[in-house]
């Protein structure tokens, strides 16, 4: 058990490790909360910029305190300096991107590099006076965290968390829909600035832990990890805080095991954690996505299965015989059947299946579409031997609007070019529906409920009369209807479209 002591218990008894653990967890938790808003607002690059820009403020704050009060390395002054540098950079970015034709990301890049360079140059000029270790600044030093840094982090974290909790609703609405937020009188700009200031404070704390280069990682990675797991902002913030904490704990122990720097170990652990969740997340993970895609079958296949089952017309259709019919491997048919089961179109037994009533209807819809497309192809002069194959493709375009349009254009044919009956429009012409009588076939009964004004004088039918449809004559172009008193009325397509009736059978 000595290795356990070496890796887990010995470090815990060391004060520097305890401080790193406490400070790191506090900072990482508030990073997760703030970072959630940062990634949703696509401000990650700005976060990176802030961490770089603050060096100018740190140097500035250091120099002023030294020159005016002769205080060495005053932590509060450096903090205030960093905040001022960060806010100034943000304001310059805002000003330049508004008043020039450059896009914001370009301006962010220009400004923070400039401010960073200026900070480093000043630091080099005054290197005899300013006791700042540039490497600590760039790489961070979580294991060497000072008491004043620790206190500062705790205070920053507490204030930012308070602001986030109290302002949650306003941060949510201004991130999601700033236009609407402004229209109900919420000061959008105020909350934008408030978030940027919170972000600056958080970044300043993270820089002392993991350094300039990695600070944006601690800000966005735990939040991004949480984003893969939840669909609510408040939960995302809590989970992100949790991932921040686990990153710090895991990373610090990793640094003991690998004997590596604390900052990079934390970021490495944090990134691995992200990759792990990216793979296994139940809804938005890669594995889930892969499984979903694997289960997916082309719509054409499922529709062909339905149509095939309708033609076989048996309560127990053999899976194998469908496979033969469609010339598809059994595995594809089974995948297709599973997706049809989920849609409640078929019932699956061991090696047979049957259509449910709604599956039967769906199959009829496809047959109707197929035969109407065939009629259409014949209508535009396609050679009869090519009609079927083309319609096999076109039948999958079967939305109601399209099919009804073709049906009407062709004069509501009852049979296709091969002489097979086209299933009637069971959606619009089912029992009790009000429909133009042009859609009704032989034997249907209905009560007339509306006749368009334009033809009311020219037809021998009145509203309220009960009618029965006879077989169409004149190669389907004339509708024959019988009134209750036996009188026979003939109508052409146009008139039949303009008389509406409620079906009674």
């Amino acid at each position: 058990m000595t290795w356990f002591n070496d890796i887990f218990l010995d470090p815990l008894s060391a004060t520097y490790f305890q401080k790193a653990l406490i400070g790191g967890c506090v900072v990482a938790a508030v990073c997760g909360v703030t970072g959630s808003l940062v990634i949703l607002r696509r401000m990650a690059f700005l976060g990176d910029a802030l961490s770089h820009a603050m060096i100018a403020g740190v140097v500035g704050g250091y120099l002023i305190m030294k020159a005016v009060f002769n205080i060495e390395a005053s932590a509060p002054a450096m903090l205030i300096g960093s905040i001022i540098a960060a806010v100034t950079t943000v304001m310059m970015i805002g000003f330049v991107s508004k008043s020039s034709r450059l896009k914001e990301d370009t301006v962010i890049g220009i400004m923070y590099c400039g401010v960073f360079a200026a900070g480093i140059v000043v630091l080099t000029i005054f290197q005899d006076i300013v006791q700042i270790d540039i490497m600590h600044f760039i790489m961070g030093d979580v294991l060497g965290i000072s008491d004043s840094d620790l206190w500062l982090s705790v205070i920053v974290a507490a204030s930012v968390l308070t602001i986030m909790i109290l302002g949650f609703r306003y941060f949510q609405i201004t991130s999601f829909d700033p236009i609407m937020a402004a229209s109900i009188g919420i000061p959008v700009l105020l909350f934008d600035y408030l978030l940027t200031i919170c972000m600056s404070f958080v970044v300043v704390s993270t820089v002392s832990m993991v350094g300039v280069i990695l600070s944006v990682g601690l800000l966005i990675t735990p939040a991004a990890t949480a984003y893969l797991l939840t669909d609510r902002l408040n939960r995302m913030m809590i989970i992100a805080a949790g991932f921040g904490v686990t990153s710090v704990i895991g990373g610090l122990f990793l640094s003991v095991i690998l004997d590596a720097s604390g900052g990079v170990s934390i970021m490495l652990f944090c990134t691995m954690q992200f990759l792990f969740i990216l793979i296994i997340a139940p809804k938005y993970g890669l594995l889930a996505d892969w499984l979903r895609k694997r289960r997916m079958v082309p719509q054409a296949v499922t529709e062909d299965i339905l149509k095939g089952a309708l033609k076989i017309n048996n309560d127990h259709v053999k899976i194998k015989s469908i496979g033969k019919r469609l010339a598809l491997p059994t595995s594809t048919i089974i995948k297709g059947l599973r997706s049809l089961v989920r849609a409640n179109y078929v019932l699956l037994n061991n090696d047979t299946f049957s259509l449910t009533p709604s599956g039967h209807k769906q199959a009829l819809r496809i047959v109707r579409s197929h035969r109407l497309w065939e009629s259409y192809l014949a209508h535009i002069g396609t050679p009869i031997d090519q009609i079927h194959n083309t319609a096999e493709t076109l039948e999958h375009i079967h939305d109601e609007k399209t099919v009804d349009f073709i049906d009407d254009m062709l004069g509501h044919p009852t049979t296709d070019p091969h002489g097979s009956e086209i299933p009637d429009d069971f959606v619009d012409a089912s029992k009790g529906m009000i429909t133009p009588i042009s859609l009704l076939r032989k034997g249907r009964e209905a009560k007339i409920c509306l006749i368009r004004e334009t033809i009311i004088a020219s037809v021998d039918i009145k509203i309220g009369e009960h009618i029965t449809l006879g077989a169409r004559i004149n190669s389907g172009k004339t509708w024959v209807i019988y009134k209750e008193n036996g009188v026979e009325v003939h109508l052409d397509h146009q008139k039949a479209d303009l008389i509406f009736a409620q079906t009674t059978n």
Binding site: R169, S183, I184, D399
Partner: protein, 266 residues
């Protein structure tokens, strides 16, 4: 549930006796740089109507909507909403954004979006009251979205997404609803469901102003049409506005619109 801005009295003289106009625009002029977006727009819109704004691309439809929302600096002119000057009318007007303008991956549920309509009425240190929750639930019921209230908004159909934002607008208690192209790129079933919600809101006495780009359906959907291109070219019932001579003048060079329209008419 109507909220009245406090400390102001309606400026419309007729307001005391009659119901005030939903929107009253006088001499509105807006420009971006040197380009005029709206020129001397005058319009009176009565309450309780479903109004479509039509006009070619870049005709100022969106600018008009944004002006009514109070987002745009006017060069001059006045806008009164329900008798109140626009600056005092915050909360009386609700905006339903264009679908492309929404981040559908945002971690937020249907219920939370609708609750946003109440955010300006909830004190910052309080949670939503019983009344707020009741109003939000009623509004979701009205647009028939109650059963989806815990869904993330990206996992809805186009029509359902539109209805969520309608619910939010209704939850705001706004009397005037502005919708930016709700029918853009939706299928027939969605179109019907949106129309159904618009009709319900109208029956509840709301005034709805809808930016619309499809002339072929404009007559069917709206009570009144407003034809804009920088100026107001016509305002009235569809029969009056959709005249070929008028449309040719406004839609110069975009003639495919007419062939479509004529095909519909024949």
């Amino acid at each position: 549930m109507t909220i009245k801005p406090q400390g102001v009295t309606p400026t419309n003289g007729k307001a005391q006796t009659n119901t005030p106009l939903a929107i009253e625009v006088k001499n509105l002029t807006v420009s971006y740089g040197s380009k005029p977006a709206l020129l001397d727009v005058n319009i009176d819109i009565k309450q309780g109507q479903l109004i479509g704004i039509i006009g070619p691309n870049g005709s100022g439809k969106s600018t008009f909507i944004k002006s009514i929302l109070g987002f745009i600096k006017r060069d001059f002119g006045t806008i009164n909403i329900l008798g109140f000057p626009i600056e005092k009318a915050k909360g009386l007007v609700a905006y339903v954004p264009q679908r492309g303008a929404v981040d559908w991956d945002f971690p937020i549920t249907v219920y939370e979006v609708a609750m946003m309509g109440r955010y300006n009425k909830i004190k910052w240190y309080k949670s939503p009251s019983k009344n707020d929750i009741e109003v939000v639930n009623d509004c979701l019921e009205m647009v028939r979205m109650s059963e989806f209230k815990d869904r993330q908004i990206g996992q809805l159909s186009g029509g359902q997404q539109q209805r969520v934002f309608m619910a939010r607008a209704l939850a705001q208690g706004a009397e005037l609803l502005l919708l930016d192209e709700p029918f853009a790129g939706v299928d027939a079933a969605t179109e019907r469901s949106i129309l159904d919600v618009l009709a319900r809101a109208k029956n509840a006495g709301k005034t709805l102003v809808v930016v619309h780009h499809d002339l072929a359906t404009a007559a069917e959907y709206f009570d009144q049409l407003l034809l804009i291109k920088q100026r107001v070219f016509a305002y009235g019932p569809p029969k009056v506005v959709l005249q070929e001579s008028l449309l040719t003048e406004v839609y110069e060079g975009q003639l495919q619109v007419f062939s479509q329209l004529n095909a519909q008419a024949q």
